[in-house]
Symmetry: C2
Amino acid sequence: MSTKRRVPLDRKRVADAALNLLNEVGLEGLTLSAIGRELGVKAPALYWHFKDKQALLDEMATEMFRRMIAGTSPDPADTWRERLRKSNHALRTTLRGYRDGAKVFSGSRFTSLVHAEQMEDNLRLFTATGFTLAQAVRAITTTYVYTLGFVTEEQGTEPLPGQRREGFDLEERARAMEDFPLAAAAGAEIFADYDRHFTEGLEIVIDGIAARYGID
Amino acid sequence: MSTKRRVPLDRKRVADAALNLLNEVGLEGLTLSAIGRELGVKAPALYWHFKDKQALLDEMATEMFRRMIAGTSPDPADTWRERLRKSNHALRTTLRGYRDGAKVFSGSRFTSLVHAEQMEDNLRLFTATGFTLAQAVRAITTTYVYTLGFVTEEQGTEPLPGQRREGFDLEERARAMEDFPLAAAAGAEIFADYDRHFTEGLEIVIDGIAARYGID
DNA sequence: CAGCGGAACTTAACGCCGTTAAGGAGCGTG
DNA sequence: CACGCTCCTTAACGGCGTTAAGTTCCGCTG
């Protein structure tokens, strides 16, 4: 037992602890009492810092994004293509860094304007390259929802990089689908090699932007 | 009180009732006792038909998909572009037909092979057009995760078509972002006109497929 | 036609969850 | 020294998903 008095919590320390715990127990195991335990505090204490659990999840999503941009400063020499590549690969890496990361992220709203600066910078780059504002927004959000959707699906079978969710058997799937040979063969192409497939899909979208808006 | 005896439930009738209820109360209000009430049955009765709540959600997702393909028979004369357009617009329409539809859908796994036939048919069309199997899979899943991600984001602000989620004020957002003029102006471009924006993004992806794989 | 077995439920209960209410310890300020 | 604020605890609530045990009724078999 320590003689010192506890240093009070704040929103960030709670979000940090919750993000740590998330990787151990997943979203369904992420209870307020478990988070409190991690912090040496009882569950209701968290209500001093957050109005409800969703507010804490929002802070967690915001913190995830904060860590992402902390790890990457935008290169002014980037082309728009490189910028899209980097930011979406970084987004995927970030989301995959947490169990159920995509679910937590897409189910929440930012508690601050962390994303505004990156957004502004990207829009500046794009409009300076020749995109209209509307085109720039379309380009950025289309890649964004692609990445979000991809990781959501990915984490449905691989909660964390390298792990496989239980009850999922690729061979069993192929056997059940023997009446649909192409679809059966597609299984190996769908549920493996996520890194390469993500990159390929992202390049498709980027090529589409270039083709549709006539910008190299 | 009726003299007739209750006709027993089955998985489909439960899933139907649950899907109806979903639109009234949303995913967070979709409790087993509420579903039971809808069917004139107590909550534990549902465990006769489903091993747990997730199994019921899985059946709901499967039923959503079943209804989608029931409403659309594939036209053999479709080009691959038309096929991608139709199937992804149909998917979005389906998901938007249920409150939290995208969340329910992407958090579940099919309980039967409903999707195999459509998949097979699409893969046949694509490979016959000149795509390799790997390219065909990439084309189909890339558009698929785009649509899933799009509707997930869309339903974050518009739970059902035409409604707006509470606590979301576009003007307030613009005011908070006054230091980031482009990002602020982008708000109107992001959070409105989802129909047009979805179509535009989908066309981007389709153009990207054509450009990247050299197929018209 | 009696009796049996299984199908399809109900009732009761469990532990846990998010959340609220009330209260209390420790601190700075007048 | 008392007050008030910050930050937490204890106690309690209703509701949730789930399990166990018991009940009812149908259809089959001998």
